[in-house]
Amino acid sequence: MPMKIICNGKEKVTRPGISLNDFIIDLGLRPENVVAECNGTIVKREEYNTYLLKDDSMLELIRFVGGG
């Protein structure tokens, strides 16, 4: 049965055991351009493939935007 993630404040439903990398790709984002914070801890980019999301994970996906 599907798994629930809170991503950037919104509830997202995905498949159990999905890696952070796949989850980001499923969102239509380039993992190399996104920094992830899961349950308050920064996830290193090289761990995106091995880092598996859990039910109710609080995920923040951040990226660079134009700014002064």
């Binding site: 920094v35 951040i62 134009g66």
Partner: protein
Amino acid sequence: MLTIAGHTFRSRLFLGTGKFPSAEILQRSIEASGSEMITVALRRVDLGDPADDIMAVLDRNKYVLLPNTSGARDAAEAIRIARLARAAGSGDWLKLEVTPDPRTLLPDPVETLAAAKELVREGFKVLPYINADPILALKLQDAGVAAVMPLGSPIGTNMGLQTRMQVEIIIAQAQVPVVVDAGLGAPSHAAEAMEIGADAVLVNTAISVAGDPVRMARAFALAVEAGREAYEAGLGPQGKEAAASSPTTGLDFIK
């Protein structure tokens, strides 16, 4: 040439990337500016609009990326954003901004100093955005920042170097580079900052909201070079008494 934290820059114009009409105009403006130091902000991905991506237009080989901590209201928030920026792969450079009051976007001297100390400890190259406060500039220098960035006038006002007298004092005392940030609204403002000895200027709004941002970026590039050249060439003295530019002798033939 300008050297900050061991890195050398040919251009003394730093460019902010906010509020440009389009990614294409931003890209062409960056090129026109000749800037090698480009600021960016860090924000939550908008899941509704994942396409928009500034990194596509920034050639990391050509520019140093200078992420800012805009949005941070205290040291803790600034430190958190700084760490996220580094994790995002921008390297160690950081424009430290701590602005508790959204009405003025003016920096908090106490929180900025506290954050600077911690971030220096963590190995960041910290460029703090500060009020034109010479004593604070000295304290930040002692704390190990890579440069200080006093404001000319409040962010986005285009009011120019309202703080000239204080910035002159900061420059006279600084052992680290001084980068005038915020409020420079016209090339003449940037030239003025460089003429009094600023090492560089950071410009965003004046270029991004100009009628033609690409040409305005070029205009600022020229003005920054003009101001620096004048500073190095040595400006002549000002005086209240007129002094003829043509000879005062050899006029007897009309007398």
